[in-house]
């Protein structure tokens, strides 16, 4: 059993399940749940702004970090970039803590936070390098995004943005074109299977308008021309502690457990205009599945769909070509069995 690849075990479980429940429309719906096609989850969580008065951005990103970690993505699969150290800011009346709520219920800067890129390490260059994997050889594994073509990646960004850019620190910015190109490189280098892009900043919609790579689902806290607003102040700290969109998104995530059947479709409806004041904007055209049939935990958790089967299964001549059920639409559907797959050239050859 140990010699058998993991993927095939899952596939067999799935096959076994089909034989039990398969009938008509129901079968279609059920199939959707199991067609996510990913085997691992990654998260890139970025706070791009520094300074004490931007406390809320740090709280935003640390809160999302806490949620995805709770839903099962391990630290080794989370790249956390935090541009300023609020916990140690001398202005912080509660040293060594970061809170995301006025009553200081949850310290999101607890003992088990692993910040991968901090302070001035949070630059556009480092961010793009992490996404595309072009890091210096000396970079430790914990600071790399080691995803593959079976990875579902969550990218969360927060900071100060404008129409077509997101400011990093106080000196530079990443443009929406650069970001779209970075995602395209990821796609060509098979660094993701599906990607969920979530951004909370002013005019956030502009950041995903230029995306052109497949399998990206994107949500932004505001339309072009709109500001994203903060949610509330903690009068004891004297700063705004969280942004509106992130606050309501977290509120939704708090009700999600690893086994939850909540879908991305529900998540995308979070924070209607009367709550956010800005209009939450969604881009679904690049995404090939119906978000209403995609589990939230496909991106926010790291949940394998495991069903225990009590019957003994005899495995014979198991090989990947035969289990087409595990392939995703873009993967091996209809393809000939013996085709050799190869990675794309890192630098395209001149024509």
């Amino acid at each position: 059993m140990a010699a058998v690849p993991k993927g095939s075990v899952v596939a067999i479980c799935v096959l076994a399940l089909f034989s039990t429940f398969a009938n008509g429309d129901h079968e279609e719906q059920v199939q959707e749940f199991f067609k996510s096609g990913h085997t691992n989850n990654w998260a890139v969580l970025v706070d791009t702004s520094r300074f004490w008065f931007n406390y809320r951005h740090v709280a935003n990103v640390l809160s999302v970090y806490r949620s995805v970690k709770r839903l099962g993505i391990p630290d080794s699969h989370i790249i956390l970039m935090v541009a300023d150290d609020m916990a140690c800011n001398p202005r912080n009346p509660r040293p060594a803590t970061v809170f995301n709520n006025a009553n200081q219920n949850i310290n999101v800067y607890g003992d088990d936070v692993e910040v991968d890129y901090r302070g001035y390490e949070v630059t556009v260059e480092n961010f793009i390098r992490v996404l595309t994997g072009r890091l210096p050889p000396s970079t430790p594994r914990s600071k790399r995004l080691l995803s593959d073509e079976r990875s579902n990646v969550l990218v969360y960004m927060t900071g100060h943005g404008g129409d077509g850019f997101l400011k990093f620190q106080d000196a530079e910015e990443v443009s929406n074109v650069e970001l779209a190109d970075a995602f395209e490189q990821m796609w060509q280098k098979r660094r993701y299977h599906e990607l969920f892009f979530m951004i909370d900043t002013c005019q956030a919609e502009s950041m995903f308008q230029k995306f052109y790579s497949p399998n990206i689902l994107a949500v932004a806290s505001s339309r072009v021309g709109e500001d994203s607003l903060s949610h509330h102040v903690d009068p004891a700290l004297g700063v705004y502690v969280i942004d509106r969109y992130t606050y309501h998104a977290l509120d939704f995530l708090e009700g999600v457990q690893p086994g939850s059947k909540k879908t991305m479709g529900q998540f995308l409806k979070v924070c209607p205009r009367h709550q956010c004041i800005s209009t939450v904007s969604v881009r679904k055209d690049l995404f090939q599945r119906d978000p209403d049939k995609v589990l939230l935990t496909d991106f926010f958790g790291s949940v394998r769909n495991v069903e225990l089967v009590h019957d003994t299964i005899h495995l014979q001549n198991v090989s990947l070509e035969t289990d087409e059920a595990t392939c995703s639409k873009d993967g091996c559907e209809g393809s000939s069995t013996g085709e050799q797959l190869a990675y794309a050239e890192q630098f395209p050859k001149p024509l």
Binding site: F51, W52, F53, C88, N89, P90, R91, N92, P93, P95, V233, P235, A236, L237, G238, V239, Y240
Partner: protein, 700 residues
């Protein structure tokens, strides 16, 4: 003037301006004045707002304990200490308190050498010794690279300026609270200064290692980082009816508007606000105009309205919170309430990441929540000043040949551009040299044929043109067909006729500037105080200056008698006046406004006349707007302001005392704090005014 513009196209404009010039200049002046005053009307000014988002004003809740018993105990013990000796401040006690709180507490001695000799006996009597106390609260988790200052003057119980013991108790109470908190990113320096501004000056000098000629400060035993902001407290212990925010600093400098907004916002949060909301009504407008003029009045003097004014010299934003003590009235603010305001201000300042740089540095305040920015007040002021500058030149030509008008138009353009960027020319004493270089250039240009039609070379000769044109006009009165040589001689002669007047007036200005120093050198007799010596001496200088036009004529040889061309004289006078006004307006708009509003109508109206009545009236009007006249007017206004409660009774004696007082304050400020109001008045305004003074005496 662009090369591509055809001046002939605008001839109709020039002609119509010429026809209505006098009406137009009146219209411009009146329009400018009314527009300026109308800026106090709510829809014409703007609401204040925060530009600096690092301040986070008022977001944090007060950390002070309910009741704040330590503040109460500090206040009552200080009261006890003050009672022991009404003439002295319990400095040792205060020092001890700060030390007991565990702060780095230091003393600094300084010596003030009085700029004027006070007594015949000994030089030592001119020296006054003072002592500052300051305590530094070190920020626990930061590197002492930035600091904030909370200051209060040390005043004894018998001090006439009003007591500040409430402010000192408040500092002690806040120091006690501040040191318990971990959130300080900047050191807080508690500064208690003797002799109000002088002590602050000494301390700031020592802190920044600079020197003043009359205040000798000891080195500081302890220091912190660059100071980002300072709040000065002049708060009595009880019966504080409202808070007065004093912003006007030395030479009319103002703190960043964000700091003012911050103080207002936090005052509002604690329900401490002196100003009510002014509605869009006539009464509302009157109140706002009153507030704005009041602020301008204080700013125009160039003297700091509180100790905060000296911080501005070092680019430290500072203002004074003055608790106004009135015995009547029901409501009074408790020290605890005021402590919360000050605490809030310091919490916000603690959030600052860089110096104040976002909001306005040049503004006028018609109310606490409205402001008039430099962009709003400059156009009406420019209109007033340009009325004098531009239009006069056209008035000088009784009949105009074709090319004459072109030239005038060029001058108009040049005058206006000159008015637009007066910052380039500092009018301090450079005037004489300027005039002389202009003479040389003029000679060059008039010798080289007819440069005026050559539009390409005109820019280089713009200065020469300015000088030339009015003289040419005078020549053209006779016959425009004169040949060049004759024209040159005539031009020279006319210019020479004016040169002595201009030179004299500027020399007299220089004399006035140096006079106080000279007078103070005289040994004063025992019966006459130095105040009187200087005041009467200045008046004597002024009176002597008034006779100079008469002297000029007496000295002239009857055969080669030169007739002074008063048109040219007036033209030069208006130029000097306009330049000066624009230069001042960029730094101290209030001073420029008051000078312009009073002097310009008289100066525009002055002309040479043979009628004794008209001459007399002109001279009286000129005397009123003379520097001394303005000083007397200012003194009267001050006396009336002080006597608001006991009706309109006005005593000339009080006004006389006030004149002495104001003059002396000007001189003392000039020496101690390097205030330049006296310098500007004596070296720029007085000479300009003297030029006009000569005009009614001109013969023609």
């Amino acid at each position: 003037m662009g090369l591509l513009t055809d001046p002939k196209q605008r001839q109709w404009l020039v002609r119509s301006i010429l026809r209505y010039q006098s009406k137009l200049s009146v219209l411009l002046y009146v329009g400018g004045l009314l527009w300026f005053l109308a800026l106090a009307y709510r829809p014409l000014n703007a609401g204040t707002y925060f530009s600096e988002n690092a301040l986070l004003p008022g977001l944090v809740e007060s950390n002070l304990p309910q009741g704040f018993s330590s503040l109460q105990s500090f206040a009552s013990s200080l009261k006890e200490e003050m009672k022991k000796d009404k003439e002295r401040v319990p400095k040792d006690w205060i020092f001890q308190q700060f030390q007991d709180l565990g702060l780095d507490t230091y003393r600094q001695n300084f010596t003030l050498k009085y700029p004027f000799r006070m007594s015949t006996y000994a030089k030592e009597l001119q020296l006054f010794r003072g002592e500052n106390i300051y305590a530094i609260l070190r920020a626990r988790r930061a590197a002492s690279t930035e600091a904030l200052v909370m200051a209060a003057p040390l005043r004894s119980a018998s001090n006439s300026k009003g007591r500040t013991d409430g402010g000192i108790a408040l500092m002690l109470g806040l120091a006690d609270q501040f040191r318990r908190n971990p959130y300080w990113a900047k050191d807080v320096i508690f500064l208690l200064s003797e002799m109000d501004e002088v002590g602050v000056l000494a301390w700031l000098d020592a802190y920044h290692e600079s020197k003043s000629p009359y205040v000798f400060a000891d080195d500081l035993p302890g220091r912190s980082g660059p100071i980002q902001a300072a709040i000065n407290l002049e708060i009595p212990q009880d019966k504080v009816r409202y808070l007065n925010l004093k912003v006007e600093g030395l030479n009319g400098q103002l703190p960043n508007l964000d700091l003012f907004n911050l103080a207002v916002r936090l005052g509002r949060r604690e329900h401490v606000h002196g100003d009510h909301h002014d509605p869009e009504t006539w009464e509302g407008f009157q109140h706002m105009l009153g507030t704005m003029l009041n602020m301008m009045w204080t700013q125009a003097s160039g003297a700091p309205s509180g100790s905060h004014g000296l911080f501005h010299r070092y680019h430290i934003e500072a203002l004074t919170l003055e608790g106004v003590r009135l015995s009547k009235g029901m409501r009074a603010y408790s020290l605890e309430q005021l402590a919360r305001v000050v605490e809030g201000i310091f919490r916000s300042l603690n959030n600052l990441l860089e110096r104040f740089h976002q909001s306005f540095f040049f503004y006028l305040l018609p109310s606490t929540d409205r402001y008039v920015s430099i962009g709003l007040y400059m156009p009406p002021f420019g209109l007033m000043a340009v009325a004098a500058l531009a239009l006069w030149i056209m008035a000088t030509s009784p009949q105009e040949p074709e090319d004459e008008k072109e030239r005038e138009e060029k001058q108009l353009g040049e005058k206006e551009t000159e008015g637009g960027e007066p910052g380039k020319k500092e009018t301090k004493g450079g005037e004489l040299g300027e005039k002389e270089t202009e003479t040389k250039k003029k000679e060059d240009s008039s010798g080289s044929g007819d440069p005026h039609n050559d539009s390409h070379s005109e820019k280089k000769k713009s200065l020469a043109d300015q000088e030339n044109a009015p003289q040419d006009l005078a020549v053209d009165d006779g016959d425009s067909d004169d040949d060049d040589g004759l024209e040159l001689g005539e031009t020279m002669r006319i210019f020479l006729s004016v040169a002595p007047v201009v030179t004299m007036s500027f020399l007299l200005g220089l004399m006035t500037y140096t006079a106080p120093h000279l007078f103070s050198k005289f040994e004063p007799s025992r019966s006459v105080s130095v105040f009187d010596v200087v005041t009467y001496g200045m008046m004597a200088v002024f009176t002597a200056s008034l006779t100079y036009p008469y002297l000029l004529y007496r000295k002239a040889d009857p055969d080669s008698e030169i007739l002074i061309n008063w048109h040219l004289l007036k033209c030069i006078g208006l130029l000097v006046q306009g330049l000066m006004l624009f230069a001042i307006s960029l730094i101290n708009i209030s001073l420029a406004f008051f000078i312009a509003a009073t002097s310009l109508p008289v100066m525009m109206a002055v002309y040479a006349t043979k009628s004794w009545l008209s001459k007399g009236l002109q001279l009286v009007a000129l005397l009123i707007v003379s520097p001394l006249g303005l000083l007397v007017m200012a003194a009267c206004v001050t006396v009336i302001q002080k006597n608001t409660d006991d009706s309109w009774l006005f005593s000339p004696l009080a006004a006389m005392d006030e004149v002495k007082n104001l003059l002396f304050l000007l001189l003392v400020d000039q020496h101690l704090f390097a205030s330049w109001t006296f310098l500007v008045v004596s070296l720029a305004y007085f000479p300009a005014w003297l030029l006009f003074w000569a005009i009614p005496f001109c013969q023609f």
